[in-house]
């Protein structure tokens, strides 16, 4: 039994250490180091050695001294068995091993006798490795997008794996792609259009949604139940089935290529979810406060403006951010309705850029960075509001 759990521990811990070191090696390769072999088997075997010594020593030595010594030995061994590598790379290996062994503090020969230890080992490692894995898979494309925008065409052709940034170049050289897309491809204009459309959508949506949500939440009228259920059903209908009729009607009305047309469509498509989110919040406001307002002789308009809106600012903020995000990221309608570069939004402009096979990829990525960064910044800064918006908006995708 003990042998079984020991071997499971060794194999699993060594396996995960190998995975993490491989990720490190890949990242190092992308900094221009010329590795050609992941050395998985070698790392795996010395990993098993490392963890064998680790559990054998157990609690006999101070934990910190133990992990320092072991990681140091491991790094030296790794250095000799691996391809020629610079000092900073080995330091990285050392730190990773240190971090990894530190997480295994509770494992010793004694602890391996516990109940269900093999299951616990697997769960523990999946947790530890899972976080690294998810972070890597999510951030890697963003990282590539970001660094590609700072590379030059030639550098990318010479070595497509070298993403190291050369800071010895002048700043104008480094930011060349950004200068080009602003000067040659008019991205300044597109940023303005995108902002105008998104902010306009937020304002108009709120103007329509707050009164409607208030009525649905508080007032009694014929067709109320029907309205509140149909809100969600309407929201489930996808943009793609609206596109052809809207396209034909907009063409005949001359609303294509107009920002106004886009604004109407965005507002109408986000209204149902905005009403749904707001009425949920309005219902949670105690009725007594409004009754007090009615006693003071306020009309409905006054109640909405003086009582409801100030009380539900957080909900309104999350609706506003959520609607902004949808409008900023929207692509299908801007693809359909805009075909003159004069009225492109950012998303449409990037798609237009990519349509030309000659466009160098770093320009495309610079454009992508420009469209992504505002949303991510807003998201990071207002995460609390946006997450509550996402959970109550729930269905949009």
């Amino acid at each position: 039994m003990k042998f079984k759990s020991l071997s499971i521990f060794l194999i699993i811990s060594s396996f995960f250490l190998t995975c993490i070191l491989s990720i490190w090696k890949i990242m190092a390769t992308l900094q221009g180091l010329s590795f050609t072999n992941l050395n998985v088997t070698t790392v795996f075997i010395i990993g098993i050695l490392l963890f064998l010594i680790f559990v054998l020593i157990g609690n006999k030595v101070n934990h910190l001294i133990k992990i320092f010594l072991l990681s140091f030995l491991f790094s030296i061994l790794y250095f000799y068995l691996n391809e020629i590598s610079p000092f900073w790379y080995i330091i990285g290996v050392f730190l990773i091993t240190l971090f990894f062994t530190n997480k295994l503090k509770k494992y010793s020969m004694q602890s391996l006798k516990e109940d269900f230890i093999s299951e616990k080992i697997i769960f523990d490692f999946i947790t530890l490795f899972g976080i690294v894995f998810f972070a890597f898979v999510i951030l890697f494309p963003f990282y590539i997008m970001f660094v590609t925008s700072f590379k030059t065409q030639i550098a990318l052709l010479v070595n497509p794996l070298d993403f190291s940034l050369d800071f010895t170049r002048s700043l104008t050289e480094l930011f060349k792609s950004y200068f080009v897309i602003f000067e040659t491809y008019n991205f300044g204009r597109y940023i303005l259009i995108s902002s105008a459309v998104s902010i306009g959508t937020v304002i108009v949506t709120l103007l329509f949604a707050i009164p409607a949500a208030y009525a649905v939440a508080r007032l009694n009228f014929f067709g109320k139940n029907f309205l509140s259920t149909s809100i969600l059903i309407i929201y489930m209908f996808p943009a793609i089935v609206l596109v052809i009729p809207l396209y034909t009607v907009f063409s005949q009305l001359g609303l294509r290529n107009s920002i106004f047309g886009l604004l109407i469509v965005y507002t109408a498509t986000t209204l149902p979810v905005a009403i749904y989110m707001l009425q949920g919040y309005f219902k949670s406001i105690p009725r007594e406060i409004e009754d007090a307002g009615i006693m003071d002789g306020q009309n409905w308009f006054g109640i909405i403006f003086k009582i409801i809106i100030p009380l539900s600012l957080p909900a309104i903020a999350s609706v506003a951010l959520y609607v902004f995000m949808i409008a900023w990221n929207e692509f299908l309608f801007s693809l359909m309705f805009l075909d003159s570069p004069k009225s492109f939004t950012l998303s449409r402009a990037i798609q237009y850029l990519s349509g030309d096979a000659e466009t160098p990829r770093q320009y495309l990525m610079a454009g992508s960075v420009i469209v992504t960064v505002p949303v991510l910044l807003i998201f990071i800064y207002f995460e609390k509001y946006l997450v509550s918006g996402l959970t109550s908006g729930s269905v949009k995708g």
């Binding site: 616990k120 963003f142 489930m236």
Partner: protein, 419 residues
Amino acid sequence: MSESLSKLEKRTAYTLVLPAVLLVFAIVLFPIFANIWISFKDIELKDIRIPEPRAKKIVKSISENQSELKIIYKLRNSSLIQEIKNVKFQDKFPRDISPVYLDARCNFKSKKVVCNFGNWQAKYKENFEIIIKNNNGETIDKEIIKSQKPILDGKADNPLLTTNFTLENFKKVFYENNFVELLLTTFYFTFFGTVGAIVFGILAAQLVNQNFQGRTYMRGILLFPYVGPVVALAYTWTLLLDPNSGTLNALLVNFNIIETPINLLGQKYITMSILGIEFKLRLALTTVIFFEIWRYFPLAFLFILARLQAIPQSLYEAADVDGASPIQKFTHITLPQITAIISILFMIRFIWNFNKFEDIFLLTGGASGTRTLPINVYQQGFAVSDIGMGSAVSIVIVMLLLSFMIIYFRLIGKRANEV
């Protein structure tokens, strides 16, 4: 008294709700019904322009002192297929100018030339001339004559509003469009994309629900793919997966894991052999599904995490006392607590994945076996320019969606209110 108050309440309610309802009706509900109309018409992209009579004015001098000018109007019907009825023409001239020669269809009255051209066939073209002179024999300023634009007017049927219907579009959708494959691809994409997103969502939520440093940051990072703009993310992935110079292929070749780059987004099938059994995998479709999972598991993660955090800790403590293993704790405590949210997520994601257009369009454009129903709407309507056919595919989508929703409300609609 109370009756009038409830009347007032009703009236207020309608004024508050009406603007939003009207807007949604015009932009969302109306198109859904308009689709039914269009899908029964044989109509193409070029037909949706309402035909209009057009004239281009060319001014030529024919006398020495420019007291006489010839004006040529290049008249045409803008439509290639439709007739314009009862075309009327009108052009204004400055004072002291009168026509020397005038077509029989026209007359000159109070400085205006007015003509009645009758009906114009489709593709109709004519060079219509008049000669004018200055009554005083002075020079006529060409620019002034040129700057006055003629006004044309005619009646044409709006091709969208005619009442000739056909079943041709639906016949084409079901018989000439590889309908079965289209449906299968859509279902593969929808089903595996949904299941994958939920599985990864559960996994990520399990991880983040543990105590570790930087947990709040991790939650934020995990949502990045969901909040980022599709265009940017799709192009980044296309770049990563590119067979010629994409990072992923370059890495795999560099570390000798594969010999030649794989065209992950451009290859329809790849032959794999597992345990000696060879089978074909839909490669491009699989890649697109993985992108879909990557982009949408955060939503599942967010919901499941919220649910996990609401599970009372005492349940787990009690299980510890009973000596339950981690797997038992997961299957007996965690899973039953999250099945409700998972079933709701499954339906919602299923419907949204079923409608997904942008992601596939940007990654493959629907090539290499990734043609789903929404992609087909675009291809038919705008690439092939057959609007009627595109609408017919839209109708198929709406019908399938409605049936999903009916199933949804029958099965778990009641449960939705509990969460």
